[in-house]
Amino acid sequence: MNISWPMNIPRTYKRATGGYTLLEVLIGMVIFALGMMALMQLQGNLTKSSADSNARSVAVNIAEETIENARTFAQVTGGVGLNAFNNIVSGSATTSRGGINYTVARVVTNYYYQPPGTVNGSGTFTTTKPGNQVNPDMKMLQLTVSWGSGQTFQVDRTQAANLGSGSIVLTDMISSITSPSGGKVLTNSTAQQLYGPPVDYHPGQNPDIVSIQLGQNRFKESTKPEPKVYNANERVETQFDVVTYSQDNAGATFLRREEFLAVACECTLHVPSGSTQGGLRPTLWNGNSYTEGEFVSKAYGTSNRDNNTNYQSEYCGVCCSDHHDGGTGTKDDANDTPRSKYNPFRASSEYRTSADGATGLIGDHKHYRLGGITLANDGDTYYEACRLVRKDGFFRVAQDLRQEALNSFPASYLDDKSEVGVYSSYVTGAMALFKAAGVNNYEQSPPTFRTPLAMSPEVVFPGSKTSNRTALSVFVAASSPQQLRSRAIYVDYLTDELRTIISCLDGGGSGQTCGVGASNSALEILPFFDVQLTWLGRWNESPINAPVTVSNDAAIATGNTHDRGKARLTSGSGNSDITFKVNRGNLGLTGSDPIDGTYTANTRQYPMYALAVVAAPPPVVTGYNVTGTITSNVASVKASDVVIAASNGAACNRTLTGFECVVPVSGGSPRLTVSNYFKKNTTLVACSTTLATNGVPHTGTTVADNYTRFDLPQTGDVTGRNIYIKSGTSCP
């Protein structure tokens, strides 16, 4: 068996056909295969690692989705079908993405706020649940997303790899603030517009309460002012409301209510000793509401209220304290100085200057001691009258009342709608003219509020002219007196601020654009009010007591039960000129004694011409006139409440500040009796230096004890027969 190559085969052929030995190839293949195997394994690992990386990304996404999902709760406690904060609890879930199963393990830890242990410290969050807290404030959500090994990861459509196991951990905190709270934030800006339920208003009855028509279905009326007398003869407060209301088919609804109070007070004057002593500037109407004045250091007063000897209004505290001018406020307006004064129309001579001494009082208006003549200085008792307005539940001192018009009416007037209409259009018409006539800082030359007769065309109320005397015969009998009524129109000072709003409204602007909300007409925001003063002023008639007498009782406790303005037929027949007189300022409402020398000059009267019996001649007045004042020298005793009675042929009227009598030329020993003066625990007596006392003055400590009779002179017309009240049992 010779298997060797044949000798004759050419060498070249032998070379060409020499080839590799099997061994060589085998070795080469083994090495290649080993290499390839390693590469294949690497390839597999790469595929697997790419699969792992993908799985990790997916796991992170799952974790984030879980967190996002957990955060989308609308409320804390669960409801049906609603995601809730409290539903975020520990647990696990399996989810499948791309054929791979992931396990999501949630570990939830609740955190609760623990308030700081120290003042101004910072609280912390702990896992300890406070005893009564129901829900945690915050949760920590720790997510472990894991995937198991051996799962087939499809690299692409044809290639697959086996996944190794792995997991990721993601932690987040979840606050219990719900998603709808974002919506609450947006609506919060309107939250302060609280809902005021509409309040029904029941308009008053004619003729006591008269409604002024403001247009646009809006009306304004004032309640009957009721003086409240604290004790016979002592200080008084008079309250009335001015109501603006709208009226529709369902009835009337309040729009605005201004609660006013006029008080007369006895105060003690103080000079400020530091910047913390002083009072408020006047509370002003700005078209929307009353704005409280700024506190400034200035002269101030304190109320002399005392429960034993001096009953006066509890509201005298603010009246005495604030009703002073002077000082410098940061909000004072140099272009509108009257707005900072309690009476913008007060004469410059009525302010304290260096000539008066007492430097701390310079700039304040003059205050007077009892009687209105002697200036009050630091520590002195003085007399004051304020108009208060309720601002946010508390009375504040507003600027003094300023009466612009006064009218009186017979009883039969203003009790039907058409008459109310005539009166209302007079008021609104005259108000419109007044508003137009006023200019800025108009206190120097205030416009005149037109009287009805000065209107064009003139407005004629019954009895307003001698040519249309009102006939009283039908009603007047001793048994059925006729109640006359008197109404006054007050207009407050119009500040520059208010005038701007008024001209904006008059220029066609809406309430919204002019800054006064729903009030669209100037009439609605003008600070004017029409008030019935029947029971506050004095009614006198001429001739005195015949043929007509009009009642004039002293104000008594409450309810307007005192008698004023009731015309009675006494004797005879003919003309009677009935005059209603009242102070134009605060004192007109309190009905109390003068507090300064301007009282008489600041008094307005309205004559009403009556005819007691149609076509009969007026009675012939025979006799002498005797007049005088009645004043009080005793603190807190009000002379205006002193009552007079005439006897033995005299006929007397109580006037605003005193009396007027007619006495026969001769015979009858005419007398005047004064009574109704009283002060608790004090003995009082009425005296006169010009009238002789008839008999012994009756003195005592009750109202009934006190009366004094004076003889009236029959020596011709005399004036200045003054009477005064003093303490003690006898006259000097």
Partner: protein, 503 residues
């Protein structure tokens, strides 16, 4: 077998071996090429890994920042009443508002005084977190105890030491004009003039929370960072609804069996139109209308008369004997007297779902309102330092004798949905007491002894029983604060992870 030898003429075996090396070499070369290819493929794989781990690292930083934001949200919510207030000693325990100027109390500093170029600058200072440069000068930034970071330990809460987060905050006191078409007029740093801010005590504010999260940290060396901000604002639970501006609202029982005194809101029905009680006279409501008020023993009078003082005390609290006398009363019913004044409003249009009217969500969705509140299972822990919104659930909310709840400048909105709410005498509550029958139809209010609420009481429940003297004194400040604040919510669209100037 001896002929198996190669012929002598054939090449030497060494040369033949050389030829085999070529094969091996070629194979190795191919392998080398393939290895290099694999190497590059591996690099792609590593890149892939790095990518995903960087992503993960970034996610960790981001979630650390998010955790910080959420932690901070709760921190501010817990302090929402004092966070925007300049009032010193706002809580009776002596805690000051965070805008207070008292030493060691203030937590906000003005951005305008931080020495920064606010308009064109940028940096890590929180004031740059406000995206609108012009607004930055009207903001405050949080700074307390030499740190501009909030005192919240988010790192200590999150397990794992490789993430850190610091949260800073900006405060905008909102300048609100309710009469304007757009009420919010921007931010203000004026804390004293109530004509500028909504309220003097900063009732409306907005917060910007700025969180800087870091991931994969070794010490201070962190490999990833994420900046996240979110805006929040405070609100009242009543937002969206309409709180009546009256001291006592009742859908069921009035008058009381004991004696009550109600001090009206002096301007509820318009300027100067007081309202004391708003009563259900709507006969179409399921449980019918309130009984008529002309019995019992009660009185209403205005503040000056009730307090017996010339102005409202600074702490709104009665100093001595406060009561309504017959002479001063607006309404007065006692023995033979039966004076019903304008301040009693018997409303035929009273809302049957008072809860919905008040809170703006139907009673059936009360959980929404409950979510704004701190929910307690009883009233035992409430005291004068409690402030904000509380919801009481369960059997009983008992305010123990001589307990004060809330305070004048940090009042409570106490919504009691407990079956029985009982005031046990001598209790003073500042704010709003809302008795709700949302959770149990038989909810009732039971007032024993002399208790005073300075603010508002709403009886949205089946029954109210009164013995002793129950005084409800309206106070627009406590009602305003309790109804307009206490809640804190996130502003829609207020989340951002892009900050042009904050780095």
């Amino acid at each position: 077998m001896k002929n198996l030898n190669y012929p002598a003429s054939q090449p030497a075996p060494a040369a033949r071996l050389q030829r085999g090396m070529v094969t091996t070499f070629t194979g190795v070369l191919i392998l080398l090429l393939l290895t290099m290819m694999m190497f590059f493929a591996m690099r792609v794989g590593v890149f892939d890994q790095r990518n995903s781990s960087n992503d993960m690292r970034q996610k960790l930083a981001f979630h650390a920042a998010e955790s910080g934001i959420h932690h901070a949200k709760e921190f501010f919510r817990a302090n929402s009443v004092i966070a925007g207030s300049p009032v010193e000693n706002i809580l009776p325990n002596g805690t000051d508002g965070w805008l207070s100027t008292a030493a060691g109390a203030g937590r906000w500093l003005k951005c305008s005084e931080a020495g920064l170029n606010l308009t064109t600058g940028s940096g890590t200072h929180p004031c740059f977190g406000e995206p609108v440069p012009a607004r930055r000068s009207t903001l405050y930034y949080y700074s307390f105890g030499n740190s501009m970071f909030l005192p919240i330990d988010t790192d200590g809460v999150i397990p794992g030491a490789t993430e850190t987060v610091g949260v800073q905050a900006l405060l905008c006191l909102l300048n609100v004009d309710f009469n304007a078409v757009t009420p919010v007029k921007g931010c203000s740093t004026n804390t004293t003039d109530d004509s500028v801010a909504g309220f003097v005590d900063g009732s409306y504010y907005m917060l910007t929370l700025l969180a800087r999260g870091r991931g994969d940290c070794v010490g201070t060396d962190c490999k990833s960072e994420a900046l996240v901000s979110e805006q929040m604002s405070n609100f009242g639970a009543v937002a969206g609804g309409q709180a009546p501006s009256v001291p006592l609202t009742t859908k069921s029982t009035f008058p009381p069996s004991g004696s009550a005194e109600v001090v009206p809101n002096p301007n509820s029905g318009g300027v100067g139109v007081p309202v004391s009680v708003w009563m259900n006279a709507n006969t179409s409501c399921a449980n019918g209308a309130v009984v008529d008020p002309s019995s019992g023993s009660w009185a209403t009078c205005e503040m000056q008369e009730w307090y017996g003082e010339d102005s409202l005390p600074a702490d709104y609290t009665c100093n001595g004997n406060c009561s309504c006398t017959k002479e001063e009363a607006l309404s007065y019913t006692h023995a033979g007297d039966n004076i019903l004044g304008i301040d009693l409003v018997s409303d035929p249009n009273f809302p049957c779902d008072l809860f919905s009217f008040y809170f703006g969500v139907p009673k059936t969705s009360y959980e929404l309102v409950k979510s704004y509140a701190k929910v307690l299972s009883n009233c035992d822990t409430l005291d004068s330092n409690s402030a904000g919104i509380y919801w009481i659930t369960g059997a009983e909310c008992r305010i123990n004798s001589n307990t004060t709840v809330g305070s004048p400048y940090a009042p409570v909105l106490l919504i009691s949905a407990a079956t029985l709410t009982r005031l046990n005498g001598g209790a003073n509550i500042y704010g709003i007491l809302y008795i709700s029958d949302a959770e149990t139809a038989n909810a009732e209010l039971d007032v024993n002894g002399n208790n005073t609420v300075y603010g508002q009481v709403v009886v949205d429940a089946k029954l109210a029983k009164y013995t002793g003297t129950f005084q409800v004194v309206y106070n627009e400040n406590t009602v305003g604060r309790a109804s307009g604040g206490g809640g804190l919510g996130t502003l829609i669209g207020g989340w951002a992870d892009f900050h042009p100037s904050w780095q």
